[in-house]
């Protein structure tokens, strides 16, 4: 066998028995090809060592998205409805707060720098505008937030995603979605505070604190899978999700 053939055979993904025998015979006689074979072997074994086990959340996260009922049964949790886009009972509250968000210009000069700030700025504003497409209810406190008198522009066709995150044990109004253990909500909130920074926190009066975050798609996706949260969005065409985190107010 010529060296050239041996090299070809060495690099094939599979070899016939006859080829294998001829190759081994050649390798016994040819130090150069033996060296080449050793190089391939070492290279392959070095790469194979890089194989890693996927995290558990990979399959679980997908299963939560495609079959939440089954996952709920498996986890022994009480079956619950799929999370609607925005819980109807708190939609009005959110709409109110989001009007505020628009006028507070969330990513203005003093914003705590989130990752990739410059590009998110535009997206966050677009997203907040887009949300208002659905938030047309009369809002008693609107004036307080829309203090500069600018009308809450309702843009059409702008993609937006909004989601509500609150705890299972929070005595929320009917229709409000109960998603997680309160400690987990606090956990997520603390993380969001440190990385993204809330846009508007704590309603002045009421039974709960609402913090709003403009969460980039990738971050929301990783939150969803990490905590098994499911956020349904009417379209895939969005980059920033306006995420409201609702916590019961601490007793003062």
């Amino acid at each position: 066998m010529k060296c050239e053939n041996a090299m070809k055979l060495l690099q094939m993904s599979s070899r016939s028995e006859a080829d294998e025998a001829a190759l081994q015979e050649h390798l016994r006689q040819c130090p150069d090809c033996r060296q080449f074979a050793q190089f391939l072997q070492e290279c392959d074994s070095a790469v194979q060592d890089l194989m890693e086990e996927p995290p558990e959340r990979l399959v679980r996260g997908v299963m939560w998205q495609i079959d939440p009922e089954r996952m709920e049964q498996r986890s022994g949790k009480t079956p619950r409805r799929r999370v609607p886009f925005v819980g109807t009972a708190i939609a009005a509250v959110l709409a109110l707060v989001l009007v505020g968000v628009c006028h507070f210009a969330p990513w203005s000069k003093e914003t705590k720098a989130p990752m990739e700030l410059s590009e998110n700025a535009t997206l966050a504003e677009k997203s907040a505008d887009g949300f208002l497409t659905g938030a047309t209810d009369a809002l008693p406190l609107e004036a307080e937030y829309a203090a500069d008198g600018a009308p809450a522009e309702i843009s059409s066709g702008s993609a937006a995603c909004t989601a509500v995150l609150t705890s299972r044990d929070f005595d929320a109004p009917e229709g409000c979605e109960l998603l997680m253990q309160q400690t987990q909500v606090a956990d997520v909130k603390a993380w969001l505070d440190s990385t993204i920074g809330a846009v508007k926190e704590e309603l002045p009066e009421g039974t709960c604190d609402i913090a709003l975050y403009s969460v980039p798609r990738e971050i929301l996706q990783s939150l969803q899978t990490r905590y098994d949260i499911r956020v349904e969005s009417p379209s895939d065409d969005w980059e920033i999700c306006t995420l409201a985190v609702i916590m019961p107010q601490e007793e003062k």
Partner: protein
């Protein structure tokens, strides 16, 4: 249950069958994403997205061969889109230029390591760094061929290039990896790769 049957059932909406398919492919898909984008968090998200797309498109994917090829290709495309997007978005990078020279700051791994594993880990870390520094075409073929053990024919289908190109690309990728390891100072491939110079390319 064979793969074709699982794909057929999943296409009919059987989530349990789809879960079995995911369990079968999660490791190669995750590792393909991991070696392409370089970080575990993004790799997991991208692998999930690939599976979700597969779930939505199962109706149009028929045979088992076609399913895995489709899945690898989708993962690959998602990873490339992700890399392009993050390149566009990136304003703060872990690579900093100082006196004209690029310095990379690696985030510390906080997991404790058993002492006896330190040497093995160091070698593996060198290989990982060498691998991650290769051009994407090389990482792709090394991952698909060596890590995931796919035949040339399927790799050619996944990457949609001729089989001959795949073979020569794998050869170049191996040589490039050996060179990188040499630069980093890993000994194991040094002796063999020295003599690779002057070798005829296939």
């Amino acid at each position: 249950m064979d793969e074709q049957e699982l794909v057929r059932k999943a296409a009919e909406g059987d989530t349990e069958a789809f879960e079995k398919l995911m369990l079968r492919y999660q490791k190669p898909i995750y590792n393909l994403a991991l070696r392409t984008v370089g970080n575990a968090e993004d790799a997991c998200d991208l692998a999930q997205e690939a599976f979700l797309r597969a779930w939505r498109s199962l109706g149009s994917v028929r045979s088992d061969g076609a399913f895995s090829t489709w899945l690898y290709r989708t993962t690959m495309n998602l990873c490339i889109d992700h890399l392009r997007a993050s390149k566009r978005r990136k304003t703060v990078s872990l690579v900093m230029e100082e006196d004209g020279e690029e310095q990379t700051f690696d985030l510390p791994d906080t997991k404790p390591l058993p002492e006896e594993q330190v040497f093995a880990k160091a070698d593996r870390e060198a290989v990982r760094r060498a691998m991650d520094s290769l051009p994407i075409e090389h990482r792709q073929v090394l991952t698909l061929r060596i890590l995931n053990d796919l035949p040339y024919e399927q790799i050619a289908e996944i990457l949609q290039v001729p089989e001959g190109t795949i073979k020569s690309r794998i050869y170049r990728a191996r040589t490039a990896l050996a060179k990188k390891l040499q630069e980093i100072g890993n000994i194991s491939l040094l002796s063999s790769s020295k003599k690779m110079k002057g070798r005829k390319r296939l």
